[in-house]
Subunit: 481 residues, 2 copies
Amino acid sequence: MKQPFRQVMLGLFAGIASITLIACSAQQNEISNSRVDVPFSPALMSALKAKQASEQSDLAYDIVKSLTVEVGPRIPGSSGDKRAVAWAQAKFEELGFDKIYSQPVRVRNWERGFADAQVVAPFEQRLVITALGGSVATPEEGLEAKVLMFDSIDALAQANAADVTDNIVFLNTRMSRDRAGRFYGVVVSNRVNGAVEAAKLGAKAVIIRSVGTDNSRFAHTGIMRYDDDVEKIPAGAISTADADILEAMFTKESEVVLNINMQAKDAGWQTSYNVIGEFTGSDKPDEVVLISAHLDSWDEGTGALDDGAGVGIVMAAAKLIKETIGQPKRTIRVILYAAEEVGLVGAYQYVRANKDDLGNIIFAAESDFGAGQIYQMDTRFADAVRNDPSDLYAALLDMGIELGNNTTNGGPDVSMLPSHGVPVLALKQDGTYYFDYHHTANDTLDKIELDDIRQNQSVWALVTAYMAMSDFDPRPAPPAS
Amino acid sequence: MKQPFRQVMLGLFAGIASITLIACSAQQNEISNSRVDVPFSPALMSALKAKQASEQSDLAYDIVKSLTVEVGPRIPGSSGDKRAVAWAQAKFEELGFDKIYSQPVRVRNWERGFADAQVVAPFEQRLVITALGGSVATPEEGLEAKVLMFDSIDALAQANAADVTDNIVFLNTRMSRDRAGRFYGVVVSNRVNGAVEAAKLGAKAVIIRSVGTDNSRFAHTGIMRYDDDVEKIPAGAISTADADILEAMFTKESEVVLNINMQAKDAGWQTSYNVIGEFTGSDKPDEVVLISAHLDSWDEGTGALDDGAGVGIVMAAAKLIKETIGQPKRTIRVILYAAEEVGLVGAYQYVRANKDDLGNIIFAAESDFGAGQIYQMDTRFADAVRNDPSDLYAALLDMGIELGNNTTNGGPDVSMLPSHGVPVLALKQDGTYYFDYHHTANDTLDKIELDDIRQNQSVWALVTAYMAMSDFDPRPAPPAS
């Protein structure tokens, strides 16, 4: 239960260096706020300058535009990915980062290839299908079989192998829409585990209703997994509109027969790179404020929302801080991770390569949920000091951003850090429409509103600047509860 | 200038057989309404029964579902089109029409084939492209050329042949959104005439920003034309998102080079059919009330909005009238025209084949603008009697539907009838989102709201029943003013 604080008055531009909170008691929330005058720390004063500059800047948007127009799709290990790495290095240079380096990441490249699905009976109809990331191919001539439809992967698990054997399994679970994207976690198991569960029962292939909240003809791809002990069968996603069509063909009288042809292939080992840019700290260069996004994307869209937006937001926030307030006291490290989409490969490599230095990280965070406006900050800070940066929290409230829980994992690519004691925070974005476009060809720049990405940029500038300019130290992250 | 009439009270179910109008004077409208008691005609009493039945019926929706699931895409002359003809005949039978017949229509079939577009410079990027209907193919290996961008076809007309020769012309006109779809007429010339205008200046090919109001990766196809005196060059549409990407590549420094490969082909003459179902009039079988839609669709979507919705609406309206009030006094003729998309071919064939009987048609109308709610009725009725069916107009006002102008052409497939003296009317639908989906793969059943198509069905049932049960005779249509 969060309480809105609408009456906060931010005094910076009125010359009053304090924030007055008219607060509500947070009955179901460990955060305790009360009516207080919160004095501005010097760190907040600096941070508010960076935020103010950000509010006039299109930089994050321009960076996403540059990435999506000049590079476009960049599936890990592909030529697009290699161009993205070069683009990122050049962009860090152009933005004046004083330390720029790359960290090799070995990644298995995969190529989508041709994909087609045709209903043979009861009614001839072509369906829009896309291979799931990592899927094996069908035989060259395709495969044709009867289709069995299940409402969920759990329903599939109840089926008899005798019924499923030699058929195509169709997992037809609808995904609900909400701001936090909570239903993704519920439905994504169809995509990730569907092939293994279907193969265990002898299925020839699995197709899923796209994991998405749109109603459209775009199929949503995304990573899937095999189990070494279970036969590898082809796995694809059909668009939600096509899932409706297929579903409508299941009647008491009719048998549904589908022909699927997908020529995806493993394209071998490639080297990709985590690309890192820093503004070195003036006072405490060894204390690192780590903000991040991932550079790779799926291959059908231009990866504007996933995760071009994050790339733009964190690069721009760091640059605007440097531009506005000069060299930060602590080092600001911007990491553009490689190969997030295929299993956080770059992030795990970063942890392996830097395992002795993780203790230097004051906090880490990732922007990887599109460009919807930020409405909440969750943290994973040492409990004893969690309430210390009250002026930062007040400034966020003034922007309409509430303080949430202290149990976040900070985002995909930093999610393994808290177990190493690294504090994280999550700036939670409005994801109401994120899963309309996620992992589709339709993830393009036009889905980003300039005002929205600018709000993100400003919040990231504020929080990052504050942490880079203050002595506040939330280490170590509390363990998972 | 239309005036809303919100205070109309419809007395049918309260047992009061009259309508009280609180009317406004229509300053800029020839329709004159004043505060009157409009007595119900017996025709209106019957029509309101049909409307009431319709309000509980899913029939129009179910018909569209049947067509889109069981047949799907049905470009004129294709195997899908042939299946659609068989479907329509069977559906008329299932619905109990007492006269069902087909009228052959010779049509040139065209196959879309493979289409691909790759930006070669300044940045490698693949664009979503689709061939325009009727386009010739590129050479088998594709064609590569510098791209010249124009804001409009008018701007192209100002260009020098020396600049355009051997290049690819890109017509990049944005389309605005409105309820009546007025901007389609403004922009569609790019699609229809772009190839001829570009070829006149020596261009190798033309691509257009899709004629659509969406921002997405769906390219909008649609018919284009050649001129026998001008070289035929390939013509394609790129999605609006891809048009943005391409546009962003045009800078002072860079030359934009594109490789296009489209393997569309003419597939020869085929026979399609206008499929016609009738409920024969009991009193005046030779007086015909003609309601229509078109059976064909483009080939990438399932033609749910264009024009499955119209097919469902007019078939259902006729069936519900028969079911509710029995055999109509006049004949209700439902025509599902062939080959509208490629130039109203079925409609012209109908006029040719029935030129001696057109005088029997009391009025004609077509539903061909999706399934958005109806908000206005325009007519083309003999001026002297236009205001006679005041009870019908009052009943429509009670549904929120205003009476518009008396100069409509009634819809594409009946637009040639007024010149033969045949009255027409147009039930104008809310097309705010129609051009998001029009002529794309995304024109599927999920875009139709059940409540919306049911409102259409009810209005068509009301108007059609009224005209089939009354003696009102709007013949002949006034000539174009």
